[in-house]
C-alpha cells in the first residue's frame, strides 16, 4: 500500500485478523477505508508457514506423503492424490484400475466434505448459524467413512505412491451408497435455507465480482473461475486417475459474484455424488498397488501434475535427481493464488462485504502458508 495512507484525513486503516474468526484461520488483512468503503487491501500471510517444500527435500518420496495432508487440511485426500500422481508420473507408473476407482470415491467424498465446511463457515460469516450445524452433521458421515477406511479422519494419508495401502473394508460400498442416498436430500435442505433467503441473496448478489478475464489474469481457478462462466475443470480438460470414465457435468454460472459461486459449489456437490455413485457401482477387481519398487528412486527429470482440488488447481512440480529424495517439490496451492484476487474483489465494497468475499474464495491458510 502507498505510504500516503495516513495523510489523507478521510482515509482510515483498519487491521483485520490474524485472529479474526471470519478470516478462516490466520489471515491478516490490512484494510484501507474511506468511511465504510474499502479502497485497498493488503494481505499479510505466512503465520502458518512450516516450510513444507524444504521438508520435502529432506525426506524420501514416500515419507513426504503425510506432510501434504497438512496443507489443505479439510481436503487432505486431494492433496495426497496430487502428490502421488506427480511421483507416479516421474516413475512412469499408473495406479491400478481398482486403486483409481477407490481414489476417485475418496477424493470426491473429500470434495463434498470440503464444500460442506465452506458452506457452513461461509454462511456463519454472513450471519446464518443454522447451516453450519447441518453441514457438519453430514460431513461427519464422510469422516466416518474415512475413519473406517484408513483410521484417520482429517489428515488421512489415504493413498500411497502407486496405489493404496489398504484394501477397502467389507461394507465400504454399502456405507458410500448409504451416504449418497442420504446426502442429496440434504443438499436440497441447505438450498431451502439459503438459495431464496432474502438476507442471503442481498448479502451475496453482486458482491465480489471477478469476471472471467480477471480470473485468468490472476490465475484464479476452481469454482471461482466456473462461476465466471468458464467451463473449465481439470477433471475434464486433462483427465487423471480415470475421471474420463465417469459421466458428470461442469456446473457454471454467469454473474461471477459471490452468490454464483455458492450456486456453483452446491451444484458441484451434486456432481460429486454422481461420480461417487458411478465409481462405487463398478469398482474393478484386481490388485490395489501397481508395481512400484520398494525404494522409490524416480529417474532424473521433472514433472508438473495438477488436479482439480475442491479449491482450484492444485499442482505439484517435482524435480528428481535420481536419488531417493526429491530434489525440489513445488506445490502450487489454489488458495494462495486465488487469494491474490482479494484486493481486486474488495475495492469499492463495504467492510461487511470483505467477510463475505474472504468466505467465497474458500481459503485454507494451511495451504496458503504451507
Amino acid at each position: 500500500m502507498p505510504d500516503t495512507t495516513f495523510l489523507d484525513a478521510t482515509e482510515l486503516v483498519l487491521n483485520m485478523g490474524p485472529q479474526h474468526p471470519s478470516t478462516h484461520g490466520v489471515l491478516r488483512v490490512i484494510l484501507k477505508l474511506d468511511g465504510e468503503k474499502v479502497i485497498g487491501t493488503e494481505c499479510v500471510i505466512g503465520y502458518l508457514h512450516r516450510g513444507v517444500e524444504k521438508i520435502a527435500e529432506n525426506r524420501t518420496y514416500a515419507m513426504f506423503v503425510p506432510y501434504v495432508d497438512r496443507m489443505d487440511y479439510v481436503a487432505a485426500v486431494s492433496n495426497g492424490l496430487g502428490y502421488c500422481l506427480a511421483v507416479e508420473k516421474l516413475l512412469n507408473v499408473e495406479a491400478t484400475p481398482r486403486a483409481q476407482a477407490v481414489r476417485i470415491i475418496l477424493t470426491e467424498l473429500n470434495r463434498i466434505a470440503s464444500h460442506l465446511i465452506w458452506l457452513g463457515t461461509h454462511a456463519l460469516d454472513i450471519g446464518a448459524i443454522t447451516p453450519l450445524f447441518y453441514t457438519l452433521r453430514e460431513r461427519e458421515e464422510v469422516l466416518k467413512i474415512f475413519e473406517k477406511y484408513c483410521g484417520a479422519r482429517l489428515t488421512t494419508h489415504a493413498f500411497r505412491i502407486g496405489g493404496l495401502q489398504y484394501e477397502i473394508y467389507e461394507d465400504f460400498e454399502r456405507d458410500v451408497n448409504a451416504f449418497c442416498d442420504m446426502f442429496l436430500p440434504k443438499v436440497d435442505e441447505y438450498e431451502e435455507l439459503l438459495t431464496n433467503n432474502r438476507i442471503w441473496r442481498r448479502r451475496l448478489i453482486g458482491v465480489g465480482v471477478l469476471n472471467a478475464d480477471d480470473c485468468k489474469q490472476y490465475g484464479v481457478t476452481g469454482p471461482m473461475l466456473r462461476a465466471a462462466g468458464v467451463k473449465w475443470d481439470i477433471r475434464k480438460a486433462m483427465p487423471y486417475s480415470g475421471y474420463e470414465k465417469y459421466d458428470f457435468e461442469i456446473p457454471t454460472a454467469k454473474n461471477a459474484d459471490t452468490y454464483d459461486r455458492y450456486v456453483v459449489r452446491m451444484a458441484e456437490m451434486r456432481q460429486s455424488e454422481r461420480i461417487i455413485r458411478q465409481a462405487v457401482a463398478g469398482i474393478p477387481e484386481g490388485p490395489i498397488m501397481a508395481k512400484v519398487p520398494k525404494v522409490i528412486k524416480p529417474p532424473a527429470g521433472e514433472a508438473y501434475v495438477s488436479i482439480e482440488a475442491p479449491k482450484g488447481e492444485l499442482g505439484y512440480f517435482v524435480v528428481s535427481d535420481g536419488s531417493t529424495q526429491p530434489y525440489r517439490v513445488r506445490i502450487r496451492p489454489p488458495s494462495f493464488v486465488n487469494l491474490q484476487a482479494l484486493d481486486k474483489m474488495c475495492r469499492g465494497a463495504l467492510v461487511a462485504d470483505v467477510v463475505a468475499i474472504i468466505g467465497t474464495i474458500d481459503i485454507v491458510l494451511g495451504e496458503i502458508d504451507r
Binding site: 489474469q217 490388485p287 508395481k291 519398487p293 527429470g301 508438473y304 488447481e313 530434489y327 525440489r328 491474490q340
Partner: protein, 191 residues
C-alpha cells in the same frame, strides 16, 4: 503391497565410481509452437523438449519476458499456472526459473525455463500476468532472486526480518533449528 519389484540395485556393486542415475527420456519437441518460437526468437530459444509427455522450452534469461508476451498475446497462453525456481549451487548459472503456462483455448500446458546466476536480477512478469506478483515474491522469499520492475518486491511468507532464503540448498533445517534454539532459549538444541 502385494506385488513388489526389487529395487533397482546397481548391477556392479564392486565398482566405486558412482553410476549416474537413470534419467527420464527427453525428446525434441516438434510442432507448430516450438517452430514459431524458434522463428520469432532465433538463438534465444535454447531447447524445446518433451519429457514424460510434458513440453518445455528453455530460453535465455533476457528473452523470458518477450517469450511470455508472445505466448500470452499471440498464442493464447492466457493463464500463468505457476512461477517457481530450483537451486543448483554447483552450476555457474545457479537457479532455474520455471514458468508454467496454460492455454484455455488450446488446452495445452507448457513450461518455460531459464537459467540465471546468483546475482542476476530477472525482469518481473507482472506486466504480462498479474498472478506473477505473489509468485515472484515467494521466489524472492525462498531463493533470494530479486525481480526488477516488480511493484512490491518483499518477503511474503517469512517475516521481514528473516535472515537468509530457506530453499537455497546451503540452508539446512538442522542449522536453522539449532540457531533458533540458541538465540531464543539460550541453550544448545542437542540435535
Amino acid at each position: 503391497m502385494a506385488e513388489e519389484q526389487k529395487p533397482e540395485a546397481p548391477a556392479k556393486p564392486a565398482s566405486h565410481a558412482p553410476k549416474p542415475p537413470p534419467a527420464a527420456a527427453v525428446a525434441p519437441w516438434v510442432g507448430e509452437l516450438p517452430e514459431s518460437l524458434k522463428q520469432q526468437f532465433g538463438d534465444s530459444v535454447l531447447e524445446a523438449s518433451v519429457s514424460l509427455g510434458q513440453n518445455c522450452v528453455a530460453v535465455r534469461p533476457e528473452s523470458v519476458i518477450p517469450v511470455l508476451e508472445f505466448l500470452r498475446f499471440d498464442k493464447d497462453f492466457d493463464y500463468l499456472v505457476d512461477l517457481t525456481a530450483a537451486d543448483y549451487p554447483q552450476r555457474a548459472e545457479r537457479f532455474d526459473l520455471v514458468y508454467i503456462l496454460y492455454s484455455f483455448a488450446r488446452n495445452e500446458r507448457i513450461r518455460v525455463k531459464t537459467r540465471i546466476t546468483a546475482d542476476q536480477q530477472p525482469e518481473s512478469a507482472v506486466d504480462v500476468y498479474l498472478t506473477a506478483n505473489w509468485l515472484e515474491r515467494e521466489v524472492f522469499d525462498m531463493f533470494g532472486i530479486r525481480f526488477t520492475n516488480h511493484p512490491d518486491m518483499k518477503r511474503i511468507l517469512l517475516p521481514d526480518e528473516w535472515q537468509g532464503h530457506p530453499l537455497r540448498k546451503e540452508t539446512s533445517i538442522l542449522a536453522m533449528d539449532n540457531q533458533w534454539v540458541k538465540e531464543n532459549l539460550a541453550i544448545e538444541s542437542g540435535q
